[in-house]
Point group: C2
Chain length 184, copies 2
DNA sequence: TTCATTTCTTAACAATTGTTAATGTAGTAA
DNA sequence: TTACTACATTAACAATTGTTAAGAAATGAA
């Protein structure tokens, strides 16, 4: 989404020069928190290199429910849109390079580029379906089924993400995931 | 949401006369399917009287994940917005009176009333948070905790909805819910 | 390299749930 | 009323998971 926007912007060199500095790039080490649960999101991020996860706290433990990789936009959309405290934390899993854009610059873009607004809403709607699918899968499928789906359809995640995060993503303990892996 | 729109419309009697017939009211018996999983949603509904649930199929059994009551708008928003097959079915639990509005009329409203579009997007954003909360609760809390939350915060649902739907909503079998209820 | 930390596996036991099936109960229609 | 249907409870057993704890393996830093 942000990628497309940047492309749109670059075609218009005059305006691009105005926004070039809005897209701030920063290097972050592993386990850096970009947005903390309970705080209101003022940024949207784009991952240039690396990997993030979103998680929330449950009785002192953290439960991961999404992973993000290169070229994906990441935000607590709900917090960003509704100006409400984020329900979850966004944190890096690996050392990463992140492009961030502030809400105020985001709104400037909004006003200058009508096509941007459309791209953004399209993205939102798709994200809505995404959420619904994630939700339904989490309800519908057993941890074992969801693990096998990961192995089949997202081997990259399996390879790249530490297993205890995956366990948490599957809704089970690392112990239980280890059992599933060695059961067959 | 639809309620507010109707109120806005009624203030403008000329336009209201144009739309009055768009809001079709119908009586439906229990277990009537308003939208079937896999089909594209062409309507938004408002519950005047009665109660609905949304569910999807898992190995021949149905899993309920939301309940809707009087004055609530109901739709497969994702399907409606993205023109994609609905991920779930919407069905009545009780004999109900439903107001429905078609997508084409919805779009007419869109174009005539700028304030409608805003109300609608506000609703969408809120719905987004709603989904996130529902999702997080389903992940975070045990069936027992979620049942106790229902008893405390939504006793109306407990009273009104057959127990096996509630069990399914909690992610467990009716047998297991019965055990939870009689454990304390 | 070596040491320390993080991550993963394995084991034993308790707790919860699913499954199947039988029984009980309430409401509805003839 | 009776019979039927839908719904809820209970029991027994299997399967899965959580918990705790110990040890193995991998990773990263000095």
């Amino acid at each position: 989404m942000l990628n497309e926007i940047i492309e749109i912007l670059k075609k218009d060199k005059i305006k691009w020069s105005e926004f070039e500095n809005s897209f701030k790039e920063k290097k972050i080490p592993s386990k850096t928190i970009l947005l903390e649960a309970g705080k209101i999101s003022n940024y949207v991020y784009l991952i240039k290199k690396g990997c993030l996860r979103s998680w929330f706290n449950k009785d002192g433990k953290d439960i991961t429910f999404q992973f993000f990789f290169e070229n994906q936009p990441v935000a607590s959309i709900d917090s960003f849109l509704n100006n409400q405290p984020s329900l979850f934390t966004i944190e890096s899993i690996e050392p990463s390079i992140i492009i961030s854009i502030s809400k105020s610059n985001f709104e400037k873009l909004y006003n200058l580029y009508p096509e941007f607004k459309e791209v953004f809403y399209d993205y939102l709607f798709k994200r809505f379906r995404n959420y619904a699918e994630l939700f339904l899968s989490r309800i519908k499928d057993t941890p074992k089924e969801r693990y096998e789906d990961l192995v089949k359809n997202h081997p990259d995640i399996i390879k790249r993400v530490p297993q205890h995060y995956i366990a948490s993503y599957l809704g089970i303990t690392p112990v239980s995931l280890s059992r599933i892996r060695n059961r067959k």
